[in-house]
Amino acid sequence: MSEYSIIGKPTRNVDGPAKVSGEAIYTFDMVLPNMLYGKLLRSPYPHAKIISIDTSEAEKLQGVKAVITGKDTPGGKYGLWRRFPELCDQTALAMDKVRFIGDPVAAVAAVTAEIAERALDLINVEYEILPAVFEPLEAIKDDAPLLHDDISNNINITRHVEWGDVDEAFKNSDYVREDRFIYGSQATASTEVHNSLASYDKGTGRLTVWSSTQSPYYLQLGLADALKMREGDIRVIKPHVGGGFGGKNSTMPDSVNAALLSMKTGMPVKIVYNREEEFTCTEHRTAMNLAVKMGFKKDGTIMAKEFKLITDGGAYTALGPTALYLTGTYATFPYNIPSYRYDGVRTYNNKMWSTSVRSFGATEAQYATEIQLDRAAHDLGISPIEIRRKNAMTPGYEAPGQYKVGSCGLLECIDKVEKRIKEKWTDLSKDEGVGFTTFAYMCGGIFNWIDTPYAFSGAMIKVNIDGTVDLFTQASDIGQGTNTVNVMICAEELGIGIEDIRLHPADTATTPVDLGAWASRETMMNGNAVKDAARNVKEKLIEIARMKLGENIVYDLEAKNKRIYLAIRPERGFSYYDIVKDAIKLNDGEPIIGVGHYTPHRKGMVSPAWAFGSMAVRVKVDREIGHVEVKDVIVAHDCGQPINPLGVRGQVEGSVHLGLGWGLCEEQPTDNGMVLNPSFADYKIIRTRDMPQIELHEVLTHEPEGPFGAKESAEGAVGPTAPAIANAIFHITGAEFSSNTLKPEKVWRAIREAEEKAKKPAKR
């Protein structure tokens, strides 16, 4: 294979200059002429019937332009699992009852945000309080209050996966262990809150919505369903987005109600959440309750695994069922599991709903898997590294009827981290220890619960007479660097420079559908679509060059370094820029347009490819106060061919940061459905002083399905972080954990318990 000119080279972010100079425009920064400010009135009760709403006083307030309630809306139901109409369970505003504290019941548009806020106080809602249910297993009971009339037992979705003869395999195991875990949720805590600006065109009846979203297409569909409009009459534009982390996939009340208010007033309307709304009324990581059983041979070989999962759904569906599905899938990663049984249920309850948060499914599954594996290794007298090496997935691995693994550099990653631990961490004190974990992550989802008829991703390219290129893609750069990746892929495939390309991203009116930024799908899916579009253009140019060279078809031509030439005789060729001119002139002036798309085929049910890696953390525990310090992190990472090493490193660093937060300090306690810590003062995220340095090693593989062999890098490293810390604490102190958020008190108690246990004569 020839050397790449652009792929794999550290490349500055194409949005960089705009982002460091305050010129990058976020929805948050936008103001349109004549714009109104919208606010939402939210339910103070977790479960209540709406008896009446009196908006007359609010409407009288000077400066108020519109007040709407459920009855003023078209009542369209929407959700992300569109294939199943019964799971489209959201409406713009509550129609007859509220299902969680914060469920919106009315929306106001006024000339200032302050007046809109004051108007909320003047709306009089009479509620009949209904019994509420908050715990997933309580919600399932026959006598539990029902959230949705047509859904019995509050069961949102169930899932069962089974392969191999699980019971027989457990019988044949030398060692079987069962462990149970409970996880809390995690806020996405994006620095840009959810906000949307909607502008209704009175002349055409069309709607334009700018929104802080991870998926313009999903928002377009959600709005179409909610407003009962045609998709094509709704244009969604994603400006720069101040972080998503999984919480901006759904159509949220800000965008739907901004649209409704704009349609009612004929003026642009903007709704911006405040930070408290962000913490209490936006999507968070799914809290879970799970039981894991694994059977081993004496030598550590995994024989069977059972995984039982109950997820804390909250009031609506969103991507919650996907979290359920993926957790059950990731419970088998990244190991060879010959027989497996998984049962999961997601139930509704009267809390803000849970959904995807960065590395969803993987983080939760891996915590249990990696902790259980270390406990088993300890009991079997095998090292944590050895038990992982013995069971590691290898290239071509297949889970029957579920998924296929293509490239896999897991063993190399394990070797690399092991080597670096031995070289680097030679001076561990008695309060220090090492936690070792492995991980895998998907490169986009194959499932199509959104029910799109389109390819999963598309791209268009227009080549101008001077050779400059306009690239149109709907990929959502929410900070991860997708825009840069796409420009690099386009430049490499066309053999031109990054400076030749102008990117037009994420506008549903001008770009072909892409499903958005979730499950680390953009590099694989949009990258492939961009590459396909560029190939399409390249073929047109090569045709012209071939004609000019007069060579027959057995001679291959290449486009590289702004030239198009004979592959075997590189000196015979032309400037790319000249060929572009010729191509346009020779073809009656027709513009050069390339289109491309990507949809995975024959890759199983989950993902077209899988990234792998392994991680070690060096941890210091203060046994007296339970404080945990993560001193150093080593990661070896197989993301195939890294497109932009700078971006890859950024993603791994950020993933570890989120994993540290979930593992050590982030939690969202609730009381009767009320989130108790809705501010950055009370919700602790990892700050710079708590952040360890990360030594990152890229293990190069070539993924045949990925653009230039690339795989994901955006989420995989979240999952292994927390269990690595828990494992390190286990090795230092013997303390065992059955939950995340290892705050000092929890660690202190676990250490005391371990000490008590050690005093007893019987061996654990």
């Binding site: 460091v20 990058a24 840009e192 660093e653 950055f680 952040m691």
Partner: protein, 164 residues
């Protein structure tokens, strides 16, 4: 009742009348339309809105605009020298020290103030100075490296100027 606010923002003199209750961030964003200064919380706990007042890093949500009366305010929009990015901005781009970019203005303004006070900070000194700045994307390390890279660039720039 509105009160007079006379101050300098990014080198430009302003003489405006504002409601005294307004925070500096509100005046910068809503009155002057300098939207490069973002706002991440409502409680003074994220530092996203940091600007410089008379060379010091200040959370613009935690001071009234009138407190800037007679002072010099520098926001992200005033960092570049015409079309040329400031060395701190360059270092942030070269080191991939931002992702979503929403907290970046505040990070850069705090870095600018830090490097004036301490032209050659260690990793720990940067961590200490920047501890209040929440970033959900980067994990901070690449920001820390960018700031120390910027320190080198600023010193190089200084010695170049001296040489002239």
């Amino acid at each position: 009742m509105k009160k007079q606010l006379k101050f300098i923002v990014n080198g430009n003199p302003y003489d405006i009348w504002i409601e005294p209750r307004l925070l500096l961030v509100q005046v910068l964003r809503d009155e002057l339309r300098l939207t490069g200064t973002h706002r991440g919380c409502d409680s003074g706990t994220c530092c996203v809105c940091t600007v410089n007042i008379d060379g010091k890093a200040v959370k613009s949500c935690s001071v009234l605009a009138l407190q800037a009366n007679g002072k010099e305010v520098l926001t992200i929009e005033g960092m570049a020298n015409g079309p040329k990015l400031h060395p701190v901005q360059e270092a942030f781009v070269d080191n991939w020290a931002f992702q979503c970019g929403f907290c970046t203005s505040g990070q850069i303004m705090a870095s600018n103030a830090l490097l004036k006070e301490n032209p050659n900070p260690t990793r720990e000194e940067v961590q200490h100075a920047m501890d209040g700045h929440l970033c959900r994307c980067t994990g901070y390390n690449m920001i820390n490296e960018a700031i120390r890279d910027a320190a080198g660039r600023l010193q190089a720039q200084k010695s170049e100027e001296k040489a002239k």
